[in-house]
């Protein structure tokens, strides 16, 4: 019987119908089909995240993360006058000192697009490190500095040759940069904490680069901080400010109602304060989650801070802030009453506000409402939103966008303390281990797991206790995490739909041609071996490829591989998926293995988590090189 060909149009229609049916099913059963929702028709939203202004303030250049473009807005008319396609998932932007070039980092292309501001087109593409994020140009326009999130360093690019000359070690998840007004220093922040000993307070840093020597000259230590976002300097160069999170991951999250889980705060540095000083922005009974974008008014009168989980902008009086710093007994970052001394306004804005930018005259402040596809314009004298610039995104708010808004908001948590995105920063991880369950102090410590391409990896939780995503995101989150109101059925469906839509990030360990390097080939053979080096058969259940099988390298079973700890209620662990495993350190269910190597060199003494003790160091290295490609 001949097979009837399906036309591409018919096929798309079938896919659409199937997808709509799938969404309908989700709404009813709140159980998304176990495949990626890439097959669901998806609006191409813009998701503005960062902005720069032309030197005369006439134009705004807006990085649109989801549409892979820069939209150019004429401020006076509030009209988009051009859209410039760039690389995948653009994230940062900088303007050259002469205003003739824009530099846009493409996080998923590992490049910088150079845009001619006269022609409004990309004229050059420069290679960077993995997942380039923040970017600045030095004052003479000869060198570009790019923060690479995945490698935790800063690329120094010679703009004359277009070549990357070196990389400077920054913090883990290096993401945001600021140039000092005199051009001598660059400050770099990072979103994941630096590696530390197991179950100790997280530490982060503000990395200080010397633009003359092009080296790291200092690291400002941020104790008990994990998740540092924008950093900004005052025009006189005397005050620096970085937005940050202070997680309380060493105590049970069960006690949200007894105290905060995250401290939303700032680190101040510079001559105005001397050293570094951390200050809270929360109030005793209300939290302003995910402090993200920060800017200091040109006259240094105010600090404006977007709180991405609270749909608001916090306004801080700098004089009052400095007075508090000088008079209060330090440290007072955990004293939430302090913010009343210097927070002068909370301005409601759109969903997931991110980038913040002053107009050149300082009279207007632009806020990128990432999940509204618009820019809020704030009058900096009255601290009011006076207009909104529509960037021209889709008007329909679909399930994915609704779900994404739910993912990023802290509205559902007790006192607005936190949302999903507090731990899953930019829908990834936070590099922390949490004491989540109301099971007693110090029980079942769990490492934060990646959310990439989760469909088909059920059940969830490290013990496999949640059979599906609605259970994971619904009752568990509501009861154990948020301690507050529940999602309704539609909201839960939307949230689950969004979580299931998160794709894999590009894997940088794979060769472009899809082949494996010799080391990766050798590692693959070890991964798939059925006999030990002595020739003895390895029991099936102890072969790597048995548990880590299937397209996502998990057989979705729960097993005891000997990695349980005395603090665990059960040693039975859900087999985790492995794709992009290199990006999610630390490892094991409790994060006790700081590196892939430690999984076997430290935590597999009896060959219960695969047979590894017959491997030479070379062979273990090969295995790890292969795992990085998955």
């Amino acid at each position: 019987m001949p097979v009837r060909a399906i036309s591409s149009t018919s096929f798309r229609q079938m896919v659409n119908v199937a997808a709509i049916f799938a969404v309908a099913l989700l709404a009813v059963a709140a159980k998304p089909a176990p495949q990626q929702s890439t097959s669901i028709p998806k609006e191409r939203y813009l998701s503005p995240i960062e902005m720069v202004s032309s030197q005369d303030g006439r134009l705004l250049y807006v990085v649109c993360q989801d549409s892979d473009e820069v939209r150019v807005v004429e401020v006076q008319s509030s009209k988009v006058i051009s859209s410039i396609s760039v690389g995948r998932v653009p994230r940062g932007i900088a303007l050259s000192p002469d205003g003739r070039q824009l530099y846009v980092t493409n996080a998923w292309s590992d490049t910088v697009s150079v845009i001619d501001t006269t022609a409004l087109q990309v004229v050059q593409t420069l290679p960077t490190g993995p997942e380039p994020s923040g970017v600045v140009v030095d004052r003479d326009g000869t060198s570009l500095y790019v923060a690479n999130r995945l490698s935790g360093d800063v690329s120094v690019i010679d703009l004359k040759s277009g070549q990357e000359t070196k990389r400077l070690l920054a913090g883990r998840g290096a993401s945001y940069l600021a140039l000092s007004p005199d051009g001598k220093w660059i400050y770099c922040t990072h979103i994941y904490p630096n590696a530390g000993a197991f179950r100790t307070q997280p530490n982060s840093e503000i990395t200080v680069l010397d633009t003359d020597r092009q080296t790291v000259v200092a690291r400002k230590s941020l104790h008990n901080v994990a998740g540092v976002f924008h950093v900004a300097m005052s025009a006189d160069g005397r005050l620096g400010v970085a937005a940050q999170l202070r997680p309380k991951n060493l105590i049970p999250l069960a006690h949200v109602e007894h105290g905060w889980a995250f401290g939303d705060s700032l680190t101040l540095f510079g001559d105005d304060v001397g050293g570094t000083v951390q200050v809270p922005i929360d109030e005793l009974d209300r939290y302003y989650a995910l402090p993200w974008g920060v800017a200091i008014a040109p006259d240094k009168s105010k600090i404006f801070l977007t709180t991405a989980g609270s749909q608001s902008v916090t306004v801080i009086d700098v004089a009052q802030l400095l007075k508090t710093v000088r008079t209060r007994r330090q440290p007072f970052v955990n004293d939430l009453s302090a913010s009343a001394d210097y927070v002068v306004a909370r301005i409601p804005v759109g969903h997931n506000p991110r980038g913040v930018l002053f107009s050149p005259d300082g009279r207007r402040l632009y806020i990128a409402n990432r999940l509204d596809d618009n820019i809020a314009v704030i009058d900096t004298a009255t601290d009011k939103v006076v207009s909104t610039i529509d960037l021209g995104g889709p008007k329909n708010v679909d399930a994915l966008r609704r779900g994404e808004r739910l993912f990023y908001t802290a509205d559902f948590a007790f006192q607005g303390q936190f949302g999903c995105a507090n731990c899953h920063l930019d829908a990834t991880i936070d590099g922390l281990q949490w004491d989540l369950e109301p099971d007693g102090f110090g029980k079942d410590i769990v490492d934060n797991r990646s959310l990439e391409n989760l469909a088909g990896t059920e059940p969830f939780k490290w013990n496999g206790g949640n059979a599906d995503m609605p259970t994971e995101c619904g009752p568990r989150t509501e009861k154990f995490f948020f301690r507050s109101q529940s999602f309704n059925q539609q909201q839960l469906t939307d949230l689950v739909t969004f979580v299931f839509s998160l794709p894999y990030r590009p894997n940088r360990s794979r060769l472009p041609n899809g082949e494996l390097t010799p080391a990766q080939e050798r590692g693959k053979a070890i991964f798939e071996r059925t006999k030990s080096k002595s020739g003895k058969p390895i029991p099936e259940a102890n072969q790597c490829a048995y548990c880590h099988s299937g397209p996502k390298y998990t057989n979705q079973q729960q097993v005891d591989v000997g990695t349980g700890k005395p603090t665990d209620r059960s040693p039975v662990i859900d087999v985790p998926q492995l794709p992009n495993v290199a990006y999610s350190a630390p490892y094991l269910h409790d994060g006790s293995a700081r590196s892939l190597e430690e999984i076997w060199t430290v935590f597999n003494p009896k060959d219960t988590h695969g047979v590894s003790n017959d491997l030479t160091k070379d062979e273990l290295n090969d295995l790890i090189e292969y795992l990085k490609t998955l």
Binding site: A582, E598, T601, K617, I624
Partner: protein, 381 residues
Amino acid sequence: MKFRIWFAALALFVVASLAAIAQDMPRFLWKNFTVADGLPDNHVFCVLVDGNRIWAGTENGLGLYENGEWKILRPVGPEQPGSEQQGIAHQAVLALALDKRTGDVWAGTMGGLSHVSAGRIDNFTQLNSGLSNNIVYGVGVQGDFVWTATAAGASRLNTRTGQWSLFNNRNTPMYEIWTYSVSPAADKVYYAVWGGGVLEYDQQTEHWKDYNDPDGENEMVVMKDQGLIHEITTSVSYVDKILWVATYFGASRYDGRYWHNFLQKDSGLPSNFLNQVKGIDGTHAWFSTDQGLAYYDGTNWAVYRPALDTHKPEMLVRDASGVVKTISVQSAPAHNYILGVDFQGDDIWVATAKGLSHGIRQKNSVAMAKVISRETPKGKK
């Protein structure tokens, strides 16, 4: 009368020649540092100069001398969990290397490899990384790669990708895996393999080649200059396409085609027991021996040390003919057991078994170059 005039002229010429040689050889005023000055430990394995910053790897910590003060880095003990202070991998620091592009320092220790970057320390061990072994005798930086010489072969870390590559008896001609020193350059990387001679890695072809006893029957060369002097190598230094090698039984120089060997008996080396060699270029090199610090300018030799018998400061100069003279000096390195050197402009810093020494180059050496004795080698007059 004519004879007396001739003899006087000859004597004047000899003295002038000797003075000229003495004058050409570098002279130093030695300032020595010990624990009394803030040095972490008197047993100094290695020294590294980075501008005005001096790093000293000792048996009990890594010292940083800057602005007249010592700062000490050691491992952070378990009594300081969560401390903001970061420690190095092990207190015994055996080797140091500077990444000149970034200013970062890499320290090879008895417990792993430490990366020191503007106050931050990241430690790589055989358990938490792909490092082949925790005992890191040598370290070198070339571009994005950090090469280490360990007690279980060589390791190379690609700092951009995080990939570790191991080189040992399984994938190189390295029949001993006790690598002791590494000298990486853009074209070649050389390893001193203790008991295994020298290994050469070609950066372009990615092939390894070994240099050992040429006849393969002994550990050492039999015919002078036939090949590497001895297989128990301790240090390599590759500069200007010239390889300098230190062994426990003499030193070698290799230009890619010809070997030239140096022994105590036929050179100015004060001993055949060498801990380190450091080439300045293809002609000049410094040798760290158990009986003093030696300098070779391609023709003449100088030795700096406390005299082996009296322990008084001593400087010896040996010319091409083998004539050795003793130069009057007022100071000497802290000890005659020398482990390593590095350079700060014209100055030299020396790691010894009893302290760290700073050799401050003396410019106006004419008046100071006083020859106080002269020895002629046997068979010569």
